[in-house]
Amino acid sequence: MDADSDVALDILITNVVCVFRTRCHLNLRKIALEGANVIYKRDVGKVLMKLRKPRITATIWSSGKVICTGATSEEEAKLGARRLARSLQKLGFQVIFTDFKVVNVLAVCNMPFEIRLPEFTKNNRPHASYEPELHPAVCYRIKTLRATLQIFSTGSITVTGPNIKAVASAVEQIYPFVFESRK
């Protein structure tokens, strides 16, 4: 079957992870003491700050690197990151918002049919790997897109990739293969 991209397959983005740098050294102790919603993990040397408005959790290192997770879209991720930088600014650090980059996007998609996993693995030998003793899903890697898909026998697929476009195209790519081995 040809790739039917007109099929209304709703891809739900569940998580967007991004990083940015503040280009200045951050005093974690000060943030921990004066921030209202922070967890200070001294043994690993980082501070977790959770924002409510775009629901995100940010991990802040003293070097000025910040990782932001939990957003549901790329714009939201950027907004959250900027909010975070602003709050750090208010705490008194000379923050410069640089190197913003979306690093990882996690999405979930549901196929309307079930999938035969052993058959699927056989047909897609180098890319697919299936280890029922370890994990119930087939792990399919697309090197060109740098995306990984976890395909379950119920038809639900979890995709992770570097950006939303990659994720979408990964789903489109995998659809014909999965359709072949459908139940």
Partner: protein, 622 residues
Amino acid sequence: SLIGAGKTPTLGGGFHANLGKESRAQTLQNGKRQIHHLGNQLQLNQHCLDTAFNFFKMAVSKHLTRGRKMTHVIAACLYLVCRTEGTPHMLLDLSDLLQVNVYVLGKTFLLLARELCINAPAIDPCLYIPRFAHMLEFGDKNHEVSMTALRLLQRMKRDWMHTGRRPSGLCGAALLVAARMHDFRRTVKEVIRVVKVCESTLRKRLTEFEDTPTSQLTIDEFMRIDLEEECDPPSFTAGQKKLKIQQLEKALSKKLEDFEGEISSYQDEIEIELENSRPKAKGVFANFTKEDSIEDNTSSVLGEEEAEDEELEAAANHLNKDFYNELHEKDRVERNEDGECKNGNEALVRPPALESLLGPLPTAASLGITESIKECISTKDREPGENTGDGELDLSGIDDSEIDRYILNDTEAQIKAELWMKENADYLKEQKEKEARIAKEKELGIYKEHKPKKSAKKREPIQASTAGEAIEKMLEQKKISSKINYNVLRDLNSKGSNTPKKEDDSTDDSTNTKKLSRRKSIASRNIANPVNSVGKRLRPLISTLPAKKAATEEVTFPNAQAEAPGLEKSAAVLVESGPVTYNPDEEVEEEEIEEDDDHCMSALQLVGGNDYGCDMDDDDGY
């Protein structure tokens, strides 16, 4: 033979290649040993072990053993062989033997399979049946029970129970049923012990199988007939069930809402009636209660919104005032006698019921307003200074006052600091103790800084003008074996040039003072006496030496030729001076070892070279 059991030394290009191969050979030997050790515990045949060793060799050549525990890589190789051969060994068995987490082993195994481009065929639960059946001790009927279990498994496969499941769990369930069918009383516990799954997993598999139509057949029917229809996988049906339940819930809640709406409308009417019939509150109390209700109202209705903007709050208040006041004023008055706090509680209690009515209205309105308000704020915040250049923070859409809430004031900060200190008391104590220990050690002067292990020693790049110099310097640095005479090694390349040798020797003398004395004595003896005695003494020494000597001899062979020119030099230069006249007989043995004919100047020289190699063992020989 002179060289003990082991690989025959190959004289490659230069020292460097040779010494590198030693380590590789050791690694492979070590790996082979471990593979055999593990494989015997798993009762794998020789062919499997050899294949596993091949895998290991491939892995080593691809540098996959770097950064990984050798045991993990060995286990992965063995499991790969098990998979390709189809032996009934589980990854769990290997992890049991090694006491390592299964998932860690699995990760290594997956990586190995991927890197070596080996496709491990998918594991079939049918493979495990004979093994588990044997362990469950069915005696004579072992074969029959196995066959029944196999049939059950095939049925399970067709019913979609086996995708994504651990094969051992399915086996366990099939065997249990098969045993019961043949009148064997095997409890769940016994099966679990053999199959290594959890009791709940087994139960679950059994119930799933129960759901299939096959379970309804009698034993005889099952052996004869095979039902045509196939079932959906259990997780799929579970998902469908969930969906159905969700839909039901939705329908129910809708109905509930309708009812609630009706009820609340009745309530309102009743209250209005009551209001009209009751006297109004007077003076201070009325105002007080009004204020209370407003505050409660905004906090409850707006809920999580956090009403960032004051304008927003005001707008919401304005909207809510009318509704709430109408409905709740009477309530406030009624319960006024009970006290303010109760009022507050009541206020909170009532809003939820009516939120469904009021909720949509004010919040929708407030949402509509937030966007426009945000725009206004963002335009205010957009100062030209902040947007210039890269890396400047663009504040559009960011609300400062909300962010201000994220910053605690002094008292809050203090409290938080105290709390954090209490929580992390243990960690802080540890740190203090560590610091105290380090300080003490420093005082005593025995402070050892435990730096994280660096995998590669960083050496300065060797700066040398000729290849010979480079080799000398490298050997000085490396100091591989105490049995190698480095000075002699150095002479390998510099046969023609005598002067550098001398210089090096003089420098080297200081380092090898111990050897010096010995060599002096030997050298003098050698010079004085003919070779024979020395050679004879040497030979037994050489033969008793272990295979390691092979390396030394390899190394020293090339030196032999270099020695020749140096031999005539002053006796003070011990290193080179060695007996020139040696019996050809003794050299025959040396020649056998040597493979590279170019280096074989003369056996005498070779044996002479060995003299230095045997230095340390001279005492042993006596």
